[in-house]
């Protein structure tokens, strides 16, 4: 079947707890998601067969749509009335793809190897490097303790020194690592380092591991070449890792395109969306245990996963990493004591499925979410950087702007679009809460559009985009994204509260105009649901909207279920240190945005 002929598509995402199926149908030339079903994932005992959950989820779609899709365990070919043209799937069940990576120098090949594995959808358990500060025996102990699904070994530029990478290979051999699944097979090791060391590596690891040699992921200091190694990771994920997971060999026979690790599919969709619109995009998926962050800036894709920042299993770690004062700063309740907050968060950790029943409890979860999003973003910024160790040619003008190599690629002023997903963002009782959590966590500058993927459809669409970009993008725009609106935030700090910092005018395509002003220290909400419009924003002297201090900008915006949020708190914004002042400010902002019922914001 050629790509043009796709009319009906069934797609599943096998998550750790739930398998979600969606049906996509082409109607009047446009692809739409029409029905969806879900069922518990069946990777663990007593079922130990992922296809059972998949069939259950598809059966639910059959029941809702009235379209017969299954003949036993097979997908029926599309005959116009029943069946589907293709079935595709992603998977993160069983803990996803867990990898360990190694590079010669931590900040150079170590970081490139980490970016390579993360971009392929893996969880990076550890990064080994010659200069990681651990003694040889500590490295060996670490390799032995962790049982990754596979290992990526890099190091050295092509033709450069072989010593470091050979040393790492020797440590690896001494550790004699075992894969996580299937103790009987050899650990797959991908070698993507100095091409001159390939023979030595074969000699050392050839017998004891399942060694795969590919192109160097850092052929020279100035160039990263991550794709060949990423492809190898996907191949091994399918050939080795998936083969060991319960029921996956069966699932692999059912699908019409290779199964993708869920985060890799989300990354692919983020990239396609960014490219189609020429946007800089930030996408986040905040779960119970982990937070994934994806970004595309100036066409460069990056992904990070913060393995211990999440809303239930890891919520206690959010508190540990952010510190209690950072959580407390978002609460309008002055009487909550440290002891009480600590116990509440620990109780959420040990009983992760409970939900907030009161506004106070909801505010605590929202505070934890902001901090988890903020910390995961910090980690992302630290990895999404230019190549380190590159010699830079400087002109005289550069001398005044002393930037080192390895600067973060993320610039919130140039960020066009934020997409949030995960329960806390997708299912907030009020959509404004989702929007505000993302604004507080990321502090976007200038004009930034914000949306949520309310049923986490990006994995399905990512894998589908490999076959039909049109189908994936159609559904993405029409059914996946819930547009919240646009945040308008001048960068700068005001000398005093209440001074005017922005004049703005919004013009819709049919010529309707709306104007207003923004004063420092204020948050303003303007309901606005036009799918697109134009904003002309003239910041005051000392404030920047992207064109320089005091310069007017004109930008494309989107309305949505929330509308426009004008953030006059300044950038960077700081919260008053005094508790009473802080609570008064929060109440003023939350009331202006109608975030929580006013009566429920007091102790």
């Amino acid at each position: 079947m050629s790509k043009q002929e796709l009319e009906v598509i069934i797609a599943t995402d096998c998550g750790s707890t739930t398998t979600k199926a969606i049906l996509i149908e082409k109607k009047d030339g446009v692809y739409r998601q029409t029905f969806r079903g879900e069922a518990p994932t069946t990777v663990e005992a007593p079922f130990e067969d992922v296809t059972k959950g998949v069939l259950n989820a598809i059966t639910e779609v059959e029941e809702l749509s009235g379209r017969k899709l299954l003949d036993g365990e097979k997908i029926i070919p599309n005959d116009g009335k029943n069946g589907a043209d293709i079935y595709v799937s992603t998977s993160s069940a069983g803990g996803g793809l867990q990898m360990m990576v190694a590079g010669a120098v931590k900040a150079m090949t170590g970081e490139s190897a980490q970016r390579c594995a993360l971009g392929a959808g893996a969880i990076v358990m550890d990064v080994l490097a010659t200069n990681d500060g651990r003694a040889g025996h500590e490295k060996i102990e670490r390799i032995r303790q962790l049982r990754p699904d596979m290992m990526l070994l890099s190091g050295g530029t092509d033709g450069g020194t072989v010593t470091h990478v050979v040393e790492l290979a020797q440590f690896l051999k001494s550790a004699d690592p075992k894969p996580r699944l299937g103790a009987s097979y050899k650990l797959p090791v991908i070698y993507a380092g100095n091409n001159k060391a390939q023979d030595k590596i074969k000699e050392i690891l050839g017998d004891s591991t399942a060694l795969i040699i590919t192109e160097n992921l850092r052929p020279s200091l100035e160039r990263e070449n991550l794709m060949p190694a990423r492809h190898k990771i996907h191949d091994i994920f399918l050939e080795h890792v998936m083969q060991q997971a319960p029921g996956y060999p069966k699932l692999m026979k059912m699908v019409g395109a290779p199964i993708m690790p869920t985060p890799a599919a989300v990354g692919t969709m983020t990239e396609k969306f960014a490219k189609a619109n020429n946007y800089n995009v930030l996408a986040v998926d905040i779960g119970g245990a982990t937070t994934d962050v994806f970004s595309v800036f100036n066409g460069i894709f990056n992904r990070t996963v913060s393995a211990n920042l999440g809303m239930s299993y890891s919520v206690s770690n959010v508190m540990a990493e952010a510190g209690l004062p950072n959580l407390l700063r978002w609460l309008t309740y002055g009487k909550i004591e440290e002891q009480d907050l600590r116990n509440r968060l620990k109780n959420k950790m040990i009983r992760p499925t409970t939900i907030p029943q009161t506004i106070q409890d909801l505010q605590i979860e929202h505070a934890a979410a902001r901090e988890a999003l903020r910390l995961a973003f910090e980690q992302h910024k630290a990895l999404a950087v230019g190549l380190k160790g590159v010699q830079q040619e400087r002109s005289i003008s550069d001398a005044f702007e002393q930037t080192a190599s390895g600067q973060s690629l993320i610039d919130v002023m140039k960020l066009n679009y934020i997409i949030g997903s995960g329960g806390i963002l997708a299912h907030s009782p009020r959509r404004m809460q989702s929007m505000q959590m993302m604004i507080d966590a990321y502090q976007p500058e200038g004009v930034t559009m914000i949306a949520v993927d309310s049923i986490f459809m990006m994995p399905h669409l990512g894998v589908l985009s490999q076959l039909s970009e049109k189908a994936a993008l159609d559904v993405f725009y029409n059914d996946c994204l819930v547009r919240l609106g646009t945040c308008i935030a001048p960068k700068g700090t005001a000398k005093k509260e209440g001074e005017k910092i922005l004049d703005w005018k919004v013009v819709t395509p049919d010529g309707k105009e709306q104007t207003g002003e923004l004063y420092s220290g204020d948050m303003v909400h303007i309901p606005f649901d036009a799918p697109e419009a134009k904003i002309i924003a003239k910041p005051a002297k000392g404030f920047d909207m992207g064109a320089g201090k005091g310069h007017e900008v004109e930008a494309h915006i989107e309305g949505g279920v929330v509308g426009l949020v004008f953030d006059g708190r300044g950038r960077p914004f700081s919260m008053p240190q005094n508790k009473e002042e802080r609570i008064a400010k929060l109440k003023k902002w939350y009331t202006a945005l109608d975030m929580y019922p006013a009566a429920a914001m007091d102790d």
Binding site: S16, E44, G94, G95, A135, G136, H137, I140, E141, V162, T163, V166, E167, Q170, F171, K173, S174, A175, D176, K178, K200, A289, N308, Y313, S314, S316, N317, M319, A320, E321, E338, Q339, R342, N343, R344, L345, K346, N347, M349, I350, R351, P352, T353, T354, I355, P356, Q357, T358, I359, Q360, D361, L362, H427, P429, R430, P597
Partner: protein, 380 residues
């Protein structure tokens, strides 16, 4: 009849408990199928490969990496003693005293074997002797299955109680009741001198002072309703970020049956433990709440005095009107009641979310509404 799925902790007077006791790497199984074993018996044994240490011999001798082999006095696989000379240079001088003066030597930093000699890096890897790693039966019972090279499955009939959270690993000891009621705080003075090596059962709460006193007295395990997170942090010296525990070395195994804060131990749990007072128990604090839930546990082999029937775990995971439950989230955290009804429709709750709820009747007759996600069924 309306019912709904709910998780719950197991509190079973007498059930069949099976435990897989497996080595992390292959080894030798020491027990046979059908054999009766005591909790402290070793059932399998393996040897962990020793730690590896590296020495850059090329650097130390001041020679090229490719030349290292010719200066080595030991080959790969040779046994070495700490301080023994591994490699030395041979100066081209005639007299021995001058040879001794100019030669450089490299000594072994550990006792063990030479693992590898690299002529690329000039590095020599030494490995310590293997470590003995036995695995004990943990519970008293009968071996019902053997996993060749890895271990056994032990089966036992007895009392099985799960806690919600624990720290510290497996231990054993005699149960002793240190609190007379489930709603009483366990105070430092309640920890007596003769509690050494015992499993001490408290009431609703133990403070840091109480836990420290128990450690000081050599108590093997402490079981209470609740503790404060701040105390846990002070005890461990760090915050537990993710609930994966069991390897802490704090000199005691601590099991919390209800949660963080001051929460009376469930009546059923307390009474059941009381009925096994003075008997030997196996206890583990290991908790893992992600991917394959594991809760801390107390296992007492044999039947309690008033029980003569073994109830197998039915794996019942639903609730019905009349079931005794505990609320596990604010604003009613820790309160007990009975399910009154289970309305099927989604209901807007106090946080403005829509959720499936249930009506709970409290002991004083008051009826409250709680999301179904926020309750736990207590064993009847």
């Amino acid at each position: 009849m309306a019912h709904a799925y709910t998780p719950g902790l197991k509190v079973m007077p007498c059930t069949v408990i099976t435990k897989k006791r497996l080595l992390p790497i292959p080894g030798k199984v020491l027990a046979e199928k059908g054999q009766q074993v005591d909790a402290l018996d070793e059932v399998a044994l393996t040897e962990l490969p020793g730690k590896v240490f590296s020495i850059n011999v090329a650097n130390k001798l001041g020679v090229g990496a490719a030349e290292v082999a010719k200066y080595m006095l030991k080959k790969e696989g040779d046994k070495i003693e700490k301080g023994e000379i591994l490699a030395e240079t041979k100066p081209f001088v005639k007299w021995k005293f001058l040879q001794d003066l100019f030669k450089s030597t490299v000594e072994a930093s550990i006792t063990g074997t030479v693992e590898s000699i690299s002529t690329v890096t000039g590095q020599v890897l030494l490995r310590e002797p293997p470590k003995r790693l036995p695995i004990k039966s943990y519970i008293t019972g009968k071996i019902i299955d053997i996993t060749p090279d890895f271990g056994v499955t032990v089966e036992s009939e007895g009392t099985f109680i799960q806690g919600i959270f624990g720290v510290g690993g497996e231990t054993n000891g005699e149960i002793v009741m240190a609190a007379d009621r489930p709603d009483r705080d366990l105070l430092p003075e309640d920890i007596k001198d003769d509690y050494k090596g015992k499993i001490v059962i408290g009431g609703r709460y133990a403070s840091l002072a109480t836990i420290k006193k128990a450690i000081e007295k050599g108590v093997h395990a402490l079981v209470v309703g609740g503790i404060d997170d701040r105390d846990l942090r002070l005890l461990l010296g760090y915050d537990i970020g993710v609930a994966v525990t069991g390897t802490e070395k704090i000199g005691i195994t601590l099991i919390v049956t209800e949660g963080f804060g001051t929460i009376p131990m469930a009546h059923g749990t307390f009474e059941l433990l009381k009925s096994r007072d003075g008997e030997k128990a196996s206890v583990s604090g290991a908790t893992q709440i992600r991917a394959g839930v594991m809760r801390p546990e107390i296992i007492v082999p044999g039947m309690p005095k008033h029980i003569n029937e073994v109830k197998r775990d039915q794996g019942r995971g639903w609730i019905e009107p009349g079931d005794p439950i505990r609320i596990i989230r604010e604003p009613y955290f820790g309160i007990l009641g009975r399910v009154k009804s289970l309305p099927p429709e989604l209901t807007v709750i106090g946080s403005e979310s829509k959720a499936r709820i249930l009506e709970v009747e409290l002991d004083n007759g008051e009826v409250i509404v709680v999301p179904r996600a926020n309750i736990e069924v207590l064993e009847k």
